[in-house]
Symmetry: C2
Subunit: 559 residues, 2 copies
């Protein structure tokens, strides 16, 4: 069958796919019956405490990408397709993905469940409410916010300074009007007036905590450690002081269980947790990854944005806290995106342009260098798009060959797992080699040293500058004894620098850290650079305008 | 086994109960396998479009109550216990309940899943996120709000007046600080500044719509009809004009399916929808009730607060829109609550006081008269509490006997279905009689006439007064042609009048309607009397402070 790749929608492909009952998928993985809680016919939650722990844990393949552009790289698509390809060549494999945020789905067309014939199913449910994890996080986050304002309203025993509350409310919605608000208006019975704002749910520290917690008791301990603000005497106020870590854990106990679904080709997929890759660490949950490592020999997972953001945080935050490390790394690149990195305009991307392509390879080159700096030899996945020309494809393949970089042309969008077999074989080859993985900094380095290491060795910049405000915060954090934590950089994903329009491989630049925010529950220090958006807005024509439900109850216009 | 009713908690009873797999419950009801979507082992969503329509629909027993007091009546407990008793005496029965709101659970101890040995299970999951229905409603409500503010921000093609937006955001949380807020602050890229506020999710018109919709296409049509505000030219702006009824329907399509669970005694329970009984109509969904009527011969359901609120709205709103009517009505009363109606202080309720009890019977008498006015002969359920004395119980039994009112002593909290057999038999007796049900007003009456009918015939008041503002709104509503809708009174539940402290059976009072709000999606006109709270606050010591999770993952401190 010839596929018309220009007209097929991801939703139509997903709808025509034949799913296996989820119990068949869980049985094939050897998951005991009492560990499986079905959510409908094709989704389940898995209780990780009921999965036997293996001696030889599965190996971890991390899929990352070049710096993202509007052209798209298809990182999730390649992640799913690679897992399907692994299955096709006889490997025992689980793909472990982040779960989508619902808010952006209402805004801009485009899901987080892969594309074409490399998708996870049921895509419409995964992209909408899924199994309620994000709703549980929203609820826990906002219960804490209500408890804080109620505490102040009811006498403020802890002497919380309303001007120094750093805990914001959240909604899983793109809603710019909630970024800056005033609350508690209307008189003495309506609370204490103060400035506030909403973030999108995936930016909540509770999302990061859920993704980094080892188990239920670790979740509770992390929740207790959250700093929600400061007293009038400038002492930190924690959730423990408010006494609601138990209630928040109760609200999150089901959300902590990974969700089992399947790819179009019936490969098992654990989809769980989806923290922002700018304000947070951008990886799926440690619990899901570990569960997958106990269920399969190969675990294919991904991290948000380019290797400078998601992969760096995977190496320095998730690996450390989860006691795991990637055994192989795949860097996804497309001809289109590399042409944009080389200066090609978005509306001219259909034109063949080998010059722009080769110019843009310097972005790919930097990400390769970065992964090598962690002691891992990456494999490049050239994710084919139907507008790519033979000359362009050959140019990139040669460029890699000349530099002894393993590269595979992947056609998983169009062909599913069959289009990723070459990539799978290259990855398996890397998995056979012993791991030389090592982080680039030690948590015992000073905050300044840790940030400098990231800027120089991961971004390729010259140096880092801290604003006076950031310096003061570093002094406070050090005084409180919170400095021995890993760094979570909040930086634009579009450039290796902190300037979104500086594409390719910029050099000689300086990164400015304007704020350092302790996230003690998550266990990292967020360093803000540039303008970081924690609540997106909707576009002029939101995707919601095209959505509908057919008479048989299935989705219309969802991608 | 002797039960110590003073020390047993509802949670401990629920935890010790042995549940059947939900598929066993659905099989026994004859629900086809493809209509059942399991949510874990003990909950399921039922697809009503896959249930065969019966010729002889099940009969509907509506459980209502005297005016509520702080002493509690146990209406949900009696509803569940009556269904268990029906099952015990061989009836084919389904209990159809409203689903709890999560926000209040964090505030004040007390659930909405019955009590003692008359509970629905799994109570902790039903009381927390359940199957995500309220989260879906929150999301749809707030997606609409974001679309409205985005529309204005992106050029305001519809010329929506930001001062005349009546669509509020919602959270399923008790959060007084969100009652009155200002949004869109921070400059030109952050939206349009305006006054706003959050309601609790159950007060959303979308909750009322979900409960009144017949099917998916009716849901969509009702969503399209919502009036979100007015233009600068004071013309109404609907969801249809914004073009997002399809997206909202998509967000709600799973929430529209009723949830199947079971009572402690394995009686099937459909729990679905839970609109406020003050600002909305306070009944479970029409779809769930109708589904139950197709699955069983007897359907036991309830309506919020006393017969003046929930039951009146069941008769005038739910019955009309759902083309159904109650075949029998149970009025729940307790000795304690009647003593409070008779003037007894809450902290002295343990004392025997037949005089206060008999004085308080006038409240019960009014609710009996009201149900009789609708053409139905009610049955009184005297819900026994362990502090009731023999003299008190006998006094109420005699009072009813003298007036030829059917009354049964029920002990379902302590004994489950066995404690409600007498009540069940009295109800079955009523079900054998032909129905003389008739509403008290016609929708074609004027708005003033309809409200006057409710005030005089249901509340027992002298007359109704409309403020100038309300009169102006009535003129506008009539001018727009929206007047031929039923009335949804928003009145305190504590008194038959609009003054919460006027207990018993007040007479000669006047009700003041201060605002008339069209809810075109729900299909009713809300008349506000007194101060109606649409966003509760948390108490000084929220219930959340006592909540926790045990090591095996089960809830602690949840009731």
């Amino acid at each position: 069958m010839k596929v018309n790749v220009e007209t097929l929608s991801d939703l139509s492909i997903a709808k025509n796919a034949k799913m296996q009952p989820i119990r068949k998928i869980s049985d094939e993985l050897g998951i005991p019956e009492d560990a499986v809680e079905q959510y409908g016919h094709y989704k389940a939650k898995i209780d990780p405490t009921k999965i036997a722990v293996k001696t030889n844990l599965g190996k971890v393949v991390l899929v990352t990408a070049i710096s993202p552009t509007a052209a798209g790289e298809g990182k999730s698509t390649v992640t799913v397709g690679l897992a399907d390809a692994m299955k096709k060549i006889g490997q025992s494999v689980v793909v472990a993905l982040r779960e989508p945020s619902l808010g952006p789905v209402m805004g801009v067309k485009g899901g987080a469940t892969g594309g074409g014939f490399a998708q996870v199913l049921p895509m419409e449910e995964i992209n909408l409410h899924f199994n309620g994890d994000l709703h549980a996080i929203t609820t826990a986050n906002n219960a804490l916010a209500a408890i804080i304002d109620n505490h102040i309203h009811q006498g403020n025993e802890l002497q919380i300074d309303p001007r120094r509350i750093i805990w914001k409310r959240v909604l899983d919605m793109n809603d710019r009007a909630l970024r800056h608000i005033t609350i508690g208006l209307g008189g003495p019975t309506q609370g204490i007036p103060r400035e506030d704002g909403f973030d999108i749910t995936v930016a909540s520290e509770i999302m990061a905590i859920l993704c980094l917690a080892k188990d239920l008791s670790d979740l509770k301990e992390r929740l207790a450690q959250i700093v929600i603000g400061y007293t009038y005497a400038k002492e930190p106020v924690t959730v423990r002081a408010l006494g609601v870590e138990g209630a928040l854990t109760l609200l999150l106990k089901e959300a902590l269980k990974p969700n089992l679904v399947q790819t179009i080709e019936g490969t098992p997929a654990l989809i769980h947790g989806g923290p922002f890759a700018n304000i947070a660490h951008g990886c799926n949950s440690i619990i899901a990854t570990k569960t997958a490592m106990n269920l399969a020999d190969v675990v294919v997972t991904e991290a948000g944005f380019g290797a400078d953001l998601g992969a760096e945080k995977f190496m320095h935050i998730k690996s450390r806290q989860g006691d795991l490390s990637p055994d192989a790394v795949v860097i996804v690149a497309t001809i289109r995106a590399l042409k944009m990195q080389g200066g090609k305009q978005k509306d001219l991307l259909k034109e063949e342009d080998v010059t722009a392509l080769l110019k843009g390879t310097n972005n790919l080159e930097k990400h390769i260098d970065t992964i090598r700096a962690f002691g891992i030899e990456p494999v490049v996945a050239l994710n084919k798009f139907f507008t790519d020309t033979t000359a362009e494809l050959n140019a990139l393949l040669s460029w890699c060959e000349e530099r002894s970089i393993a590269i595979a042309l992947t056609e998983v969008w169009e062909k599913g797992g069959a289009g990723g077999v070459e990539l799978a074989k290259l990855v398996l080859n890397e998995l056979e080699k012993p791991s030389n993985f090592a982080p680039l900094y030690s948590v015992s380095d000073t905050i300044e040293q840790k940030v400098r290491t990231i800027v120089q060795q991961v971004y390729g910049g010259k140096d880092v500058v801290f604003t006076d405000a950031a310096k003061k915060q570093i002094d406070q954090i050090t005084a409180y004894g919170w400095d021995a934590l890993p760094i979570c950089m909040a930086k634009t994903q579009y450039s290796l620098s902190d300037q979104p329009k500086l594409l390719g491989r910029p050099t000689d630049f300086t990164i400015t850290v304007r704020e350092v925010i302790p996230k003690l529950g998550a266990g990292f220090l967020v360093c803000l650079t540039g303008d970081i958006m924690t609540m997106p807005g909707l576009p002029k024509k939101p995707a919601a305008l095209n959505m509908d439900v057919s008479e048989d109850g299935s989705a219309i216009g969802l991608f």
